[in-house]
């Protein structure tokens, strides 16, 4: 092996370095600090701030450490008078136009320029002339600009181009008139835009919701886990006076690197929503009144005791997949002790056939960083850019390295990297497309599967063959299933087809993961057909869908708004309305719960809660409460423990959430994830109906109770709009124009709705987003729908 290691000398100390490394990387690795503004380890080198100038022996002038490759025997002085002079001179230049009013700047106290000016700035400014002033632009609800403070380091510009893949900010103008901005007045739409706040070394780009609400030194930092997708991004809560003031990313190379999605960054606002439930409430004769925990739990216990025995199966529990593993585990323990197996967290799933071959939990199929190494990826029913923004970053890196990323979707989504092959069709044709790819893979690879007559009539075209041949040729390929795949009414058929594509093409098969703790809920046993640790249950209970179809007498809901969270909201609301008892463990007084529940128990969530969550890659992460629960709200595990004791289920031994976790972990830690199985072959592929079909997505900022209440995020474009999305051909056929409304009819319910033109859709497909009260009465997410102009 050729030796890449060389030795350089910095400030008299010999250091080992790799050939080709930049000087600043070597000094950073050895804890020698060189001041910098434009250098950022995750971005390309710009060398435009000049702050990192150092003295290099034999060089005729100071050199920027960020752009100077190391050479064997190089002798560097970072603190010599020569280097200091250069650094101080640069600082004086930077401060020429920068305002010297740190006390009124939101960045004050955590500003890289302020910090370095303390070390390298002069006490007195020699500058007499007028300072440059730049007009601020409104770039949306999340990022506040104060561009007079900008020092043109271009980190934000490079972030947009290199990481987010969406160049929204740029440097317009020249010299004295150069400005960073969007040039035209428009909002940033990147799902990662908040990261420019972190990369900005000064107060030019700051957080709009946080602005002027606290100073760094007043806040305490606590670790946490982001709860909105299966990635499990690491975060820091910044807390002042027991209030979460903001959320910033915590570095974890194996998960979120140094980034955070906007959803994870700004959702904390939802904690302080006006409709928080702060005391237990019971409904008596149709009127809600507050009550004590004692009285509320007595009522819950007596109502839950009723169904035990002959009618035990009349008890059903739905738990949000954002609940902690401990909560999920105690909940299933409670329900099962009451004699029922009716517990589920798969609120968005509608097809539960072939449950016997479900994986232990829907696993990513690889570690998160391995996504970067893939050379061929087939995404099915997926839009990771908005659904799992940080997994998408990894896929983007793969794409930039030349990987073929291919999609089969019902909506022609906008990706921030090149898609090599694309099949866009209605939700039923999508199945045929996947089947055709399977057939093509089988033909190309020569590997056969026992598919019987299933694929006989499937027509393979060149597009299918192109995808299949890339998968077959790929050295490290993956089939990744997205949120729509999981929610599809033919999920098991899709899984059979996609899973076999994976095995025939030697690809991995993975799920991108929709919610923060799906894996934890699966492993804890919050599913009807498996106990804790994926143990098979002989007499499976009812799944999320059947629980609603069979109209039970008692329901437990844990952090769920049925109208917005259930795959068939109309059915869910009808069943809950019809039930004798609905007990809601909820952080919010949701409109739909006020309507259907009998008892509401206030739970602590997010920063107020404690427990563990398991991400889509199977990494279990623990977090603790960092702010007190509001009012009389309590962590779910404590409520469930007390309830268990009242119902005679032994749980009182748990003195802490650790105790719960330790016991849970003894069972689940031995489970190794595997998505492969001998799936049951579907009888036949569904035939494509002639009419119009509905497809559904949940926009990224409408996915759960917390984010739906985060004010700033609700002002972005990524929220459910309650309209019918329709392409211009279909709109033309229906003679829609201007402000005309239409009537959408699905499974017996008809609604008057607005429409929006959306040319990402095929001609026979309309998109009606879920998680919006205006459309929830329509029922199932996929299926035939009739439209007519009003």
């Amino acid at each position: 092996m050729t030796d890449d290691t060389i030795t350089i000398e910095v400030d008299g100390k010999p250091l080992q370095a790799r050939k080709g490394q930049m000087l600043i990387e070597v000094t950073d690795a050895n804890d020698i600090y060189i001041p910098r503004f434009c250098y950022h380890k995750k971005l390309t080198i710009a060398a435009n701030c000049r702050m990192c100038l150092v003295q290099v022996e034999k060089a005729p002038k100071p050199l920027p450490a960020c752009a100077t490759p190391v050479m064997d025997g190089m002798k560097v002085q970072t603190r010599s008078a020569y280097a200091r002079d250069a650094q101080k001179a640069v600082m004086e230049f930077l401060l020429i136009n920068h305002p010297l009013d740190c006390p009124i700047c939101d960045q004050g106290g955590e500003c890289e320029l302020q910090d370095l000016a303390m070390g390298y700035g002069s006490d007195v400014s020699r500058y007499q002339e007028k300072k440059r002033v730049v007009k601020d632009k409104n770039i949306g609800p999340l990022v506040q600009t104060e561009m007079t403070r900008c020092i043109h380091c271009t980190r934000c510009v490079r972030f947009g181009e290199e990481i987010a893949g969406l160049r929204e900010l740029g440097a317009t103008g020249r010299s004295e008139f150069m400005e960073i901005g969007t040039y035209v007045e428009k909002s940033m739409v990147s799902e990662l835009s908040g990261n420019v706040i972190d990369v900005c070394p000064v107060g030019a780009l700051t957080s709009k919701p946080f602005r002027f609400s606290a100073r760094t030194w007043e806040m305490t930092q606590y670790p946490g886990i982001a709860p909105h997708d299966g990635t499990g991004s690491n975060i820091h809560f910044h807390v002042k006076h027991d209030v979460v003031k903001r959320v910033v990313p915590a570095e974890n190379e194996a998960i979120n690197e140094v980034w955070l999605s906007d959803r994870d960054r700004f959702s904390y606002e939802g904690l302080y929503s006006q409709d928080r439930l702060t005391v237990p409430m019971v409904k008596e004769n149709g009127v809600w009144r507050e009550t004590s925990w004692e009285a509320a739990l007595d009522q819950v216990a007596s109502r839950m005791q009723k169904p035990v025995g002959a009618t035990a199966s009349q008890l059903g529990a739905l738990i949000s997949p954002t609940a902690t593993s401990e909560e999920a585990w105690l909940m299933q323990k409670l329900v099962r002790a009451a004699g029922s197996n009716n517990i589920d967290h798969r609120l968005h799933q509608s097809d539960f056939t072939d449950a016997a071959h479900d994986p232990a939990f829907p696993w990513l199929g690889q570690a998160i960083p391995e996504l970067e190494q893939l050379d061929t990826v087939l995404l099915i029913g997926a839009w990771p850019r908005k659904e799992q923004p940080l997994l998408n970053l990894r896929l983007r890196k793969a794409a930039l390295r030349g990987a073929n990323i291919m999609v089969v979707n019902t909506i022609d989504y906008d990706f921030n990297y090149k898609i090599s092959d694309k099949l866009i069709s209605d939700p039923v044709t999508l199945i045929h497309d996947v089947a055709a790819v399977l057939k093509a893979v089988s033909e190309i690879s020569g590997n056969k599967i026992e598919s019987g007559k299933l694929l006989e009539a499937v027509v393979v075209n060149d597009k299918h063959r192109a995808i299949a041949s890339k998968l077959a040729a790929g050295k490290k390929s993956a089939i990744l299933a997205g949120n729509q795949f999981m929610a599809h009414t033919q999920y098991s058929t899709l899984r059979y087809l996609a899973g076999h594509i994976a095995s025939l093409s030697a690809s991995s098969f993975g799920y991108l993961g929709e919610s923060a703790n799906e894996a934890g809920c699966w492993l804890a046993g919050a599913i009807p057909h498996r106990g804790t640790g994926a143990k098979k249950i002989d007499q499976p209970g009812l799944n999320a869908r059947s629980m609603m179809e069979q109209k039970l007498s008692t329901y437990l809901l844990f952090n769920i708004e049925p109208e917005l969270d259930c795959a068939n909201a109309a059915l869910a609301m009808a069943s809950l309305q019809n039930a004798e008892t609905v007990i809601a463990f909820t952080p919010y007084k949701s409109a739909s719960l006020l309507q259907v529940a009998n008892i509401m128990l206030p739970i602590a969530i997010y920063a107020e809660n404690e427990g563990s969550m398991i991400n889509v890659a199977g990494q279990s992460q623990v977090y603790s409460a960092c702010v007190p629960a509001q009012g009389e709200a309590r962590p779910g595990w404590k409520i469930l423990r007390v309830l268990a004791n009242r119902l005679g289920v032994a749980a009182s031994e748990y003195q802490s959430v650790e105790a719960v976790r330790n016991e849970l972990n003894t069972v689940i830690s031995s489970v190794t994830p595997d998505n492969r199985a001998d799936w049951v072959r579907p009888e036949a592929l569904p035939s494509v109906p002639g009419g119009i079909l509905r497809t559904t997505e949940i926009p990224m900022n409408s996915v759960d109770t917390l984010v739906r209440r985060a004010e700033a995020l609700q002002q972005t474009a990524d929220v459910a709009d309650g309209a019918v999305h329709i392409n211009s051909n279909l709109a033309g056929k229906l003679r829609l124009n201007g402000s005309s409304k239409l009537v959408a009819q699905q499974q017996g319910s008809a609604l008057e709705l607005n429409y929006v033109l959306d040319n990402r859709l095929p001609d026979n497909t309309v998109l009606i987003q879920a998680a919006h009260p205006a459309t929830s009465a329509l029922g199932a997410w996929f299926g035939e729908i009739t439209l007519r102009k009003l």
Binding site: E161, L166, R167, E168, L169, G170, A171, T172, G173, R174, T182, Y183, V184, D412, N727, S728, N729, N759, D763
Partner: protein, 165 residues
């Protein structure tokens, strides 16, 4: 899923851009951005609009902001409406030594505007900070509507501007 909106770029402009595109590799379309903007500006009375820049961005497959950056950087590209006749007086070293400051002064007073401004009647636009136009031997000089005029005197300037409508 088709767009039936009338294209913003004229057929001639697209042809011209295609001519330049042919000189660069397929995946380096943005190399043609200067030529594209110059042509589009020429067809639009000497200045660019956001709509036109967006159209160029679309045509070349560039982010819109990247085109704004180019357009706002180069002094030969205008991003605001300007007068019909564009006057650029060189103020670089040779011309400066032969008296370009006085030429700028005289022209400003004559037209009643400062450099960077257009006359109220929309007749003239006086460019700001024009750099060397490579006619040093004839300094002081200016370029009016792409035509060079050298060895300028006040009378000569009067005569040149007089002829323009």
């Amino acid at each position: 899923m088709t767009d039936q909106v009338k294209p913003v770029l004229s057929e001639h402009a697209r042809k011209e851009i295609d001519h330049w595109l042919a000189k660069y590799p397929e995946d380096r379309k943005q190399s043609a951005v200067l030529a594209a903007l110059r042509e589009v500006q020429h067809e639009n009375n000497g200045f660019l609009t956001t709509e036109l820049m967006d159209a160029v961005a679309d045509y070349l497959g560039m982010p819109q902001i990247a085109v704004y950056e180019v357009a706002s950087f180069y002094s030969m590209l205008e991003t605001k409406p300007i007068g019909r006749h564009s006057i650029s007086i060189c103020t670089n070293i040779s011309c400066m030594l032969s008296g370009s400051d006085a030429v700028v002064d005289y022209t400003e007073k004559k037209l009643g505007i400062k450099t960077g401004q257009s006359t109220a009647d929309g007749r003239f636009f006086l460019k700001k900070e024009e750099e060397c136009l490579a006619a040093c031997c004839g300094g002081p000089m200016m370029m009016v509507d792409h035509v060079y005029y050298e060895n300028l005197t006040n009378e000569k300037i009067d005569a040149i501007l007089e002829k323009l409508d």
